[in-house]
Symmetry: C2
Subunit: 85 residues, 2 copies
């Protein structure tokens, strides 16, 4: 079994409205030193296979087709072998 | 200046509907080995101060009051000193 950790980030050139809104919120709370807030997605899941190539293929397909928006986001995949539990 | 990396996670006991929906999506794509999908928030920002205690206080207040929902989410803060650029 593999554990996959994915980080889906908007490309730097693309505005992050959620981050921008939180930054304005910080100002309203009086936290004036906070800047450049970016909010990304961190995703975790398990892949029930012992074949690393298959695990990698499934994780990549999952990201490309569902988790990330290929027009404005990039993703990183980290696979880690774990014991069945 | 400090760079803050925050991970906001739902508590394990609380259902993650976004993760659940992605898991069902994976099944529909034929990715039958994928299970236990959890989607968390990964947040990055800068704190313009050279005082580590102040940086930590501002980051914690920002998380408590705005970034995390204290009823169902926990957060981790990692601070890293960076040079002004």
């Amino acid at each position: 079994m593999y554990k996959a950790k994915i980080l889906v980030k908007r490309r730097k050139s693309i505005l992050d409205p959620q981050g921008k809104a939180s930054e304005q919120g910080a100002k309203l709370l009086g936290l004036n030193n906070i800047s450049k807030v970016r909010i990304d997605k961190s995703i975790q899941f398990f892949i029930e296979t012992s074949d690393e190539v298959l695990a990698k293929t499934e994780a990549t397909e999952f990201c490309n087709k569902l988790l990330a928006n290929p027009i404005m986001e990039d993703f990183e995949i980290i696979l880690e072998k774990v014991n069945e539990s």
